[in-house]
Symmetry: C2
Subunit: 705 residues, 2 copies
């Protein structure tokens, strides 16, 4: 029986491994797996299976899985696809609960392969076995060590970053590339076709590793959207994660009925999901690893203020630009720090950030200035620029700074610019675990990632907002159950209005009054201005007939208008039945925004906020978040759009009721989350009144999926 | 006397060089200059000057410049700042027409240094001498060769890219870095304080070099904006240019009076200037050189369609994303190409772009697929992805492809992914002059630069648009001369209207009529609908008095309204003098955009186009171009904004008269270019009518600087 409560744990901690398909031919992949396991230092048992028998690398080749001695917790299978199911069956019977199928020839080759893959999954399920692959290169733990891949040695350098990947080729390339970059890996998992184990399954197992301080992920999609988000959010509270999500081109996205639907899409959903899950999204392979390394090695900054130390102006300006492009700020040094810098630097040095210590800057000056910068309370992070110093060796500068960087509670990154002239500095920095970059832009990018990680952690414990309470869903459910609109069609306006009302989202009020005092009271209750419209089955064109009065601003005016209207109509249309008048709240002037929700096929309900009106799709001033919202999501929606920022007022545009918008966002998100059947709902526009006066959903439409 | 028609030419082709401040102390920079000149292979004469006398590197140290023998066309001066002016004087007297002052201690150190620098310039001017620096590291020509810098050997590797830089430290770092990247330089110029020679002066000299096939520039600003643009535009017709412009942070930008002014700024102006000049703007140091190398080495593509060849899916998807992010497209292979690929690749290979040849892809398969791709008429460029092939050496793959790449008339870039496993491939590719990158993102970025270069060249000969002719300026000049508005204040609406009229930009027409037939004729001439407004010195509130009639749609309606209005007013106000009625064109419904122009302090008149209305500043859907516009600039304004794109119609928004907008843009730009005194002019909104019906400037304001 297995030692492991969860068979997934067996992948990274097997007492023994059996290799099925171990080959004596060194050009075969089955040889590579045996070699990497036997020669890679794996401390557990390794058993090799090949029906031909014989010996390989000093070990016997057992004819079958059954014939291999105990202990075996993990099987690595690299035999032709059609032969895999019986071997899995044998593994299952033996009590093996973790298997890596490295072989190709499954789903990726067509219908027959797909059926074979389904058969493998069925066998695994039956035996309570977890299956990695097929069509993958397996996994590596550099610290145990354990290497189930067939890649030629040397294996990946040891480090603190785990890598989970949907592409085996990328893993092979990155392992090779990392060596020259001074990067290392703690664990590496190639998931192949993900017939069973996917990125979400393996993520907590990888994250639980004590050697892993950051996790990088190459993702082509994710298995189950919300489960990925929940798992990610739990992991991210402990360890930083960076993902490169590829496959952005969304060919054939169908025309959506609402603006929200048209603007949503896989990429928007992934962005919202990563934000919620605390996964930093990288744009490039190299960036992913540069961020992960910085996150693994450096303390997080308390704010976004960066000090730049340089020995030349040009690189300093380049760094300042890069800092600004990352949304970070140049730190403002205190007068005391500037005075102390003045004492150690030549008179022509620039003491304002970027601090230019001039070409003559010595190792001691670099170190002293760095210490002063770290001590300044206005500095959250430091970037040290190190073009080859003309009078000193860059290596000596690096050596002088390393002890300070290693003990600092603020992140410090170093930019040795060059190649042979800074090689010694780079070697020292790498050996000391200090992130270093060839150009300021990459260093700024890494600092930006540290800052975003710190900001995410500050909001990591926020619960979803549920402002409408639990009864709202029950009331809305009754309404929707009573509705007979066919799926896919727009719900009747009355139902949509009632839905909003159940969730406490204000729409313009209306009431029928049968007398002047009733009309006045109704108007008083809903707030001014109001419109008065005759209710009569006999008057078709109310406006033309004088049956509409707009813009009534007081109870008195409403009462007078009621009496006047009735008298006038009675005189003009003596035959008409007059059933009273509709009192309708008129929306005061205000800003207009769009608030909507759609159901994403992968991640479920997604909320949109932005600039409304007819041109919302063209201007694209919108942002998305997963429903229900956290306070941080809501902040993001409002801060990342012009529509949200201008609620504070802009030039001659008066401030609007931002809290009312926050409330509507949270309530609509809750509604969308409560009703998975809701395909789209869109308030366009939401009229946002001046401060303290609320917001009104002027036009709403919704449909079920 | 100098050999050179233009003394600037002497910098790169001196028959002899004199080094003033040559030092026998190897730790001094003055030693470095002498060493690099003498040991760097410079074929001309090198004379060393040091008042102490003696010998250095086998050469005599002459006591003065005068004492050095002929020929001397270039002086390199590296002595303390206060001693520089008399040496320059001596150089001038001797007929030396080109001097590099490498010494620091000038403007960068304060007032005294600034005065010293001015004295140097005065001396140089007096002698017709050009001065490079001070505070620079000099120049290098790797092919002559000539190296006037003090940088430690080895000097920069020879290549085809020239580098002009405002930062000497960056030059030093980049020279060191380039070696490891396989990059080389043809010429390198560090300009220092630019007391005399600036980037615009030296650009044509550098570009004239036969070894230079592309030019990279690190710029902190430019000297004279328009001269840079004109010079750049001339150079760019022959050789590609890439610039990294730093110093984006614009602290203290003053609040501008118009939206155009508020949205303009140094960065917008630089972008517009680079676009006109044909300079590709890079965002990062590394990107600048990667683009420059690709531009120097590869043919330009005929279109934007890229074929991706890969041996694995993941890297192929990553490449496809990167291609899309660059605005390039995946090529669609012809059925014939797909058929031929099918014959050479395994059945499971993917024959749709990205073409995945699978992990088994051999050197022959790579080469054959590349040949088929290059032959396909639907392919403009090729990116070959090369993760370490499991069964073959990456080097063999590279070797198989190189002859095809070298003879192709389409650009091919290669992405060997890894480090040791692809080192041989990289070495072969570099030796063959084939651009190679570690990751698809950088390769896509280089292809994007090639494509933009090709597009720019296609419009390089476009003259500025002058649709209003030359008489417009004369008419406008008379108007502005007659105007007495103080500088900085808004011009009276009547003057602004007249200005627009002079330039043929339509504003709503109006005319005073004194009879019903006159009113009808005027309306007929300007088009319907029109408004009729009484003209009377005695009626203040025309609307309240019944003196305004809107929306008249025919000549008959206008005549009737005229008579009726006069009769009514005569009856109501028997004492009022009725001087007739103003017939005003009413703008029909249409799209609204903003068109404006401001005067940039560096680049002069700059035109803006975008989404108008009150929120133009917040949404920032605007683009800028230098005035007067070329057809390509105008296209850019319309295509890079949503305001421009939606003129074609969008959803239920009908198409608008785009040619009318084009006309207004060109005319307003001409106006702005004709009147440098115009600080700002802004049409907001320009109402764009349905197709064929024109555009009307509904609200315009302008002020002189």
């Amino acid at each position: 029986m297995s030692l492991f409560a969860d068979p997934l744990q067996a992948f990274f901690a097997p007492r023994g491994v059996v290799v099925v398909g171990a080959s004596t031919d060194p050009t075969k992949l089955g040889y590579g797996v045996a070699r990497n396991l036997l020669e890679g230092g794996f401390p557990g048992a390794v058993h090799l299976v090949n029906p031909k028998g014989g010996r390989l690398l000093g070990r016997p080749l057992h004819p079958t899985v059954e014939a291999a001695p105990d202990p075996v917790d993990l099987a690595v299978i690299l035999i032709p696809a059609p032969a895999v199911p019986p071997v899995l069956e044998a593994c299952g019977r033996r009590g093996i609960r973790a298997a890596i199928v490295a072989s190709g020839g499954f789903r990726e080759t067509g219908r027959q392969g797909t059926e074979l893959e389904a058969a493998c999954v069925e066998i695994a399920r039956r035996h309570g076995m977890r299956l990695m692959g097929p069509n993958c290169i397996g996994l590596v733990d550099t610290h145990l060590p354990l290497d189930t891949t067939f890649l030629p040695p040397p294996g990946p350098p040891a480090g603190q970053v785990a890598f989970i990947t949907h592409s085996g080729a990328l893993a092979a390339a990155v392992i090779d590339w990392a060596r020259g970059q001074g990067f290392g890996f703690s664990r590496l998992v190639s998931l192949g076709n993900q017939a069973d184990v996917n990125e979400t399954d393996i993520l907590p197992v990888v994250a639980a590793d004590a050697h892993t301080r950051a996790i990088a992920m190459y993702l082509e999609s994710v298995g189950a959207g919300r489960r990925f988000v929940e798992t990610g959010r739990t992991v991210a509270r402990q360890k930083p994660m960076v993902a490169l999500k590829v496959g952005r081109t969304e060919a054939g996205q169908q025309a959506a009925a609402s603006h929200t639907g048209a603007l949503a899409g896989q990429e928007r959903a992934f962005e919202a999901a990563f934000r919620r899950a605390g996964v930093l999204r990288a744009e490039k392979v190299q960036q992913m690893f540069q961020w992960a390394e910085a996150l693994a090695r450096l303390p997080l900054p308390r704010g976004n203020r960066v000090l730049i130390l340089t020995n030349a102006g040009g690189p300093g300006v380049t760094a300042a630009d890069a800092i600004a492009a990352e949304g970070l700020r140049l730190a403002r040094l205190t007068a005391q720090t500037r005075q102390l810098l003045r004492e150690i630097l030549p008179p022509a040095a620039s003491l304002h950030n970027p601090v230019d210590m001039l070409a003559s800057a010595s190792p001691e000056q670099y170190a002293q200035a760095l210490r002063l910068g770290l001590d300044d309370p206005g500095v959250d992070m430091v970037m040290v620029i190190l073009p080859p110093p003309p009078m000193f060796s860059a290596g000596a500068v690096a050596r002088a700074m390393i002890p300070l960087i290693q003990t600092a509670d603020k992140p410090v990154v170093v930019v040795p610019m060059g190649d042979p002239l800074i090689a010694e500095a780079v070697a020292h920095l790498r050996a000391a675990g200090v992130p270093e970059y060839r150009f300021p832009e990459d260093a700024a990018s890494a600092l930006g990632a540290l800052h975003r990680r710190a900001r995410w952690l500050a909001t990591a414990e926020q619960p979803p907002l549920q402002p409408a309470g639990k009864n709202a869903a029950a009331a809305a459910r009754r309404m929707l159950d009573a509705d007979t609109t066919p799926a896919g069609a727009w719900l009747p306006p009355k139902t949509v209005r009632a839905l909003l009302t159940a969730y406490g989202i204000p729409t313009p009020q209306e009431a029928v009054a049968h007398s002047a005092p009733e009309a006045a009271a109704a108007a008083e209750a809903m707030g001014f201005p109001v419109a008065l419209k005759v209710v009569s089955p006999d008057i078709a064109h109310k406006s033309d007939a004088g049956g509409v009065t707009l813009g009534l601003e007081s109870a008195g005016a409403v009462a007078a208008a009621y009496d006047e209207m009735m008298a006038r109509l009675q005189a003009a249309f003596p035959q008409a039945r007059l059933a009273g008048a509709l009192v309708q709240q008129m929306a005061p002037e205000g800003q207009e925004v769009i608030v909507g929700a759609v159901r994403d096929p992968l991640f479920g309900p997604l909320v949109m906020f932005g600039s409304g009106g007819v041109e919302v799709e063209g201007l694209g001033d919108v942002a998305f978040a997963l429903a229900p919202l956290t306070a941080a999501d809501r902040e993001h929606l409002l801060e990342s759009t012009w529509a949200g920022r201008k609620l504070a007022g802009f030039r001659n545009l008066p401030p609007a009721d931002r809290p009312a918008v926050e409330e509507v966002l949270a309530r609509l998100a809750q509604l969308a989350a409560d009703f998975p059947a809701l395909a789209e709902i869109e308030i366009n526009p939401l009229r946002v009144l001046p401060e303290g006066r609320g917001a009104l959903a002027l036009d709403v439409r919704a449909r079920l999926g």
